[in-house]
């Protein structure tokens, strides 16, 4: 690196505003690069951004659509944020989300039409959490016990979860599958009894899905957990300095397992919410296409792993997704929305480096200089 005369130098002092200015700056940079891409594909960047703003937040019913898109991202974002905070890189939000959907829809179908709505909804939340939690527990235990790399194990479990969901609907006569009517010909899941459909809270012009409200409450709870409790204190020590945590009488392995389960449970509730609030049916293909688990990592990164910030970032990215549906058309390929989201992630993670390091002209020490000359 020094060969080019520049190098990265860790910042010794972080100004208070910097941690917040960097993601905002990164987002603006992403819009700028996005404008170039849009220009290159023959779009008018300003009008596209204007339309995104309009369709995401301003026009009639737009914000409701945005909140619907934001709800799963909110949960998978919290899932990634809480795990990454202790250095447990759970990439398995996707699979944990699917397992939550399977467990959540399963209990709703089991309780059937006779159960009171409140019981069904509560049971879906609990079973969604259990399904996702168990799926998150696996890489957690493997890491704590055998020091396996959780990135690989959690990622691989995403595929396992996807195959299980596909099996339940397409390759077996499972409890989840509709076997009567058109379902006898075209494989599909049973529709959940309407009593178990999650309510929407109506505030006049804006309708807020119950799942989103639940997510906000959980985000606030997570904030308190991390900042105000003993467990949160231990999380912070384990995340930054595992050896020191052990030295101070903590049990890092236990904390890793607990947080892995918690993280999975959050994605699992997201899966249950997705079915309870919107799909009302276990739909393996739909789940796979949306890729909420991976998008959650973007959300968490943009929110700098702060659970409260996750709420806002989820709404922001939900808005872009929502507007993407509206923008899509003969002259606007759907892939462009993905490109914009990718640019945002790229710029944010790049910005993260700038927050921690600064670029300096390298001062060649005599030894470096001579080593270069002789090379």
């Amino acid at each position: 690196m020094s060969r080019f005369g520049f190098r990265l130098e860790p910042r010794s002092y972080l100004p208070k505003w910097l941690p917040w200015a960097v993601p905002v700056g990164s987002f603006l940079a992403a819009l700028l690069v996005g404008a170039i891409v849009l220009f290159a594909t023959g779009q008018n960047a300003l009008s596209v951004y204007g339309r995104i703003l309009d369709r995401a937040f301003l026009s009639e019913g737009a914000f409701t659509g945005t909140l619907i898109s934001a709800t799963p991202l909110l949960f998978t974002g919290l899932c990634a944020a809480v795990a990454f905070r202790i250095g447990f890189f759970n990439i398995g939000g996707e699979g944990q989300f699917v397992m939550g959907a399977i467990f959540g829809s399963g209990i709703a179908l089991k309780l059937g039409v006779d159960a009171p709505g409140i019981v069904s909804v509560a049971a879906m939340v609990v079973f969604g959490a259990v399904g996702g939690g168990l799926w998150g527990l696996i890489p957690g235990i493997l890491k704590a016990r055998f020091r396996t790399n959780e990135i690989i194990t959690s990622l691989m479990l995403n595929y396992v979860a996807a195959v299980i969901a596909t099996y339940l609907i397409f390759d077996s006569n499972s409890f989840w599958r509709e076997l009567t009517g058109s379902g006898a010909v075209f494989p599909k899941g049973k529709i959940l009894p309407t009593g178990s459909w999650w309510p929407n809270l109506d505030f006049g012009s804006i309708v807020v899905p119950f799942g989103f409200v639940l997510g906000m409450v959980i985000a606030a709870w997570l904030y308190v957990l991390q900042r105000k409790t003993r467990f949160g204190f231990e999380m912070r020590v384990v995340g930054g300095a595992p050896t020191t945590a052990r030295y101070a009488g903590m049990k890092p392995a236990r904390i890793v397992v607990a947080v892995a389960a918690l993280s999975g449970a959050l994605a699992g509730i997201g899966g249950a919410a997705d079915i309870g609030n919107f799909r009302h049916v276990l739909d393996p293909k739909g789940l796979q296409q949306s890729g909420f688990g991976y998008a959650g990592i973007v959300v968490a990164a943009l929110a700098r792993l702060n659970p409260v910030a996750v709420v806002f970032v989820a709404v922001l990215l939900g808005g872009i997704t929502n507007a993407g549906y509206a923008l899509r058309g003969p002259d606007f390929p759907s892939g462009l929305v993905g490109v914009l989201q990718g640019l945002i992630l790229f710029c944010t993670l790049g910005g993260e480096v700038l927050a921690r390091y600064r670029i300096t002209r390298s001062v060649r020490t005599p030894m470096n200089a001579s080593a270069l000359e002789s090379a």
């Binding site: 020590v237 050896t243 945590a245 030295y247 002789s374 090379a375």
Partner: protein
């Protein structure tokens, strides 16, 4: 062949400074063709810096070097290799999944990555070298399958494969069993007789005396003397080279405090343990610490001190033996139990083990009492109490930082140590275990830390001070124990301490006649 009388390699008036430290100052020494030349010195005497200069890793600030009588100026390690100087590192540089032959070939031009790779020819060469120097190793074995001793042989063959004429061994016996060490000694002499020159870095007096033809003693970065002396007691006083009377805490003060010591607070009995590499690290350590006294454990690093303190803190499990704190037995391998029993521990690796660098000073000071009221109001913690406690302790222990919410990673070494001591000495400890308390600190901070340790002892804490710095041990301790190869060779009162005897014990010599 150049003039036969010129030394194989020589350094003249070499000085190397690092910010705040003079690692080598006016060092002069030469290695003759066909000799085993030992570099003897305590930790921090400048041995490693000197060998890094000889192998081109550092350039000296002053002075020059000659190889076979010709002045050289190494710009990089590659230049040193071309000049025929090879180093066998203490920490091996091998790729575990590659075979022996592949590791040896790496970087020689028969590079398996760079093409032109004739494995068969390389294997033949390896066998040839291993037979002629009695370094048995299977060229096709993968590194991860080999024992530590075998891996070291691979490192040696690697250097010989590059036709090194001068081989530098950095503490080669540190990782070996006594039998392996003996065998290595014979190999070194074989290599010397074949016309190569060996630089043998060690602090073990017995080895140096038996293997080396000549010895250069380094002390505080300077070359004290080069001698063909093989009398261990003479070498010991050269290495330690100090006068027992020139210490800071006066003998009278120590004697006075010794008269005030109380009951036994820490009893270590027949402790056995293995180290990270699976070799025996502790072999029957027994030691008592009484209330109000400072017990100094002297010894060169790597003789089991780290394992001992880590077991006391619960960070490592003991194989057998017992530890009692005020009569109560310490759970093996629990880090919380010693905290509950009042065992405080200031580790040598302050930032990596003692502190969470991203947390604030106040939070770090609460690391050991955040579970209990008043800091905790289960399940919550009270940030305001943490901060208030931090402010108090900062003032009490004179920690210099902008505020209690400053992350500890921004503190200087002296302040880091003060934060640690503040935490470990608050909360009424019974025993304070501290490892290398003044390592890397400036003179002022050292004095503060020493003052705090004496205060702790005077307030009735039993202090176990583990240090490689003999001056420090002599300056503070009421009693001194010397550790060598996992054993406590001897324990004596400060008044009976004799620097030469301690030096001998540190080098593994039980008595002068040995």
């Amino acid at each position: 062949m150049k003039a036969a009388t010129a030394p194989a390699v020589a350094a003249f008036h070499v000085t190397k400074k690092f910010p705040g430290v003079i690692a080598n100052e006016d060092v002069t020494f030469d290695v003759r063709v066909g000799e085993v030349h030992a570099l003897l010195g305590e930790n921090g005497a400048g041995k490693t810096t000197l060998s890094n200069i000889l192998t081109g890793l550092y350039r000296p600030d002053e002075g020059w070097m000659e190889v076979a009588g010709i002045a050289v100026d190494f710009q990089s390690p590659r230049d040193a290799i071309h000049a025929g100087i090879g180093m066998v590192h203490q920490h091996f540089r091998l790729i575990p999944t590659f075979s022996v032959a592949e590791n040896i070939a790496l970087g020689t031009g028969h590079d398996p990555v760079g093409g032109r790779f004739d494995l068969k020819m390389i294997e033949e060469r390896v066998v040839e070298i291993s037979e002629s120097f009695d370094l048995p190793v299977d060229p096709r074995a993968k590194i991860w399958q080999l024992s530590v001793g075998e891996q070291q042989r691979v490192e040696i063959i690697k250097v010989l494969y590059r036709d090194a004429r001068v081989l530098i061994f950095d503490e080669p016996t540190a990782v070996l069993s006594p039998l392996e060490s003996e065998r290595l000694g014979a190999t070194l002499q074989t290599m010397a007789r074949s016309g190569r020159s060996i630089v043998f870095i060690s602090h073990k007096l017995g080895e140096v005396a038996s293997i080396a033809d000549r010895v250069t003693v380094l002390r505080h970065g300077r070359s004290v003397q080069t001698t063909s002396e093989n009398d261990v007691s003479a070498l010991a006083s050269l290495m330690v080279g100090r006068d027992v009377e020139s210490v800071t805490r006066s003998s009278r003060a120590i004697a006075e405090s010794s008269s005030r010591v109380g009951a036994v607070v820490l009893e270590i009995e027949n402790l056995h343990a293995v180290g990270d590499r699976g070799l025996k690290a502790l072999e029957g350590v027994s030691l008592d610490v009484r209330s109000g006294e400072i017990v100094g454990v002297a010894g060169v690093a790597g003789n089991g001190q780290r394992e001992l303190v880590e077991i006391l803190a619960g960070l490592r499990r003991a194989g057998s033996g017992s530890i009692r704190v005020e009569g109560e037995s310490l759970e093996n391998g629990s880090t919380r139990h010693p905290i509950r029993l009042g065992v405080s521990y200031v580790p040598q690796d302050r930032m990596g083990t003692g502190l969470a660098p991203d947390l604030t000073i106040a939070e770090n000071m609460a690391l050991k009492n955040f579970r209990r009221p008043p800091v905790a109001r289960p399940p919550f913690i009270r940030q305001s109490v943490i901060d208030a406690q931090g402010r108090d302790l900062m003032e009490q222990f004179d920690v210099r930082a902008p505020s209690e919410t400053t992350p500890t990673r921004r503190l200087s070494g002296g302040n880091v140590q003060k934060v640690l001591l503040a935490r470990e000495m608050s909360g009424d400890p019974r025993v304070l275990v501290i490892a290398s308390p003044s390592q890397g600190l400036d003179v002022g901070a050292v004095a503060t830390v020493h003052r705090l340790l004496i205060d702790a002892a005077e307030s009735g804490v039993g202090v176990l001070l583990v240090s490689e710095d003999l001056d420090e041990v002599l300056a503070l301790s009421n009693r001194i124990a010397v550790m060598y190869e996992g054993r406590i060779l001897d324990t004596f009162d400060r008044a009976d301490a004799d620097a030469q005897r301690i030096g001998l014990l540190m080098g593994g010599q039980l008595d002068v006649s040995a």
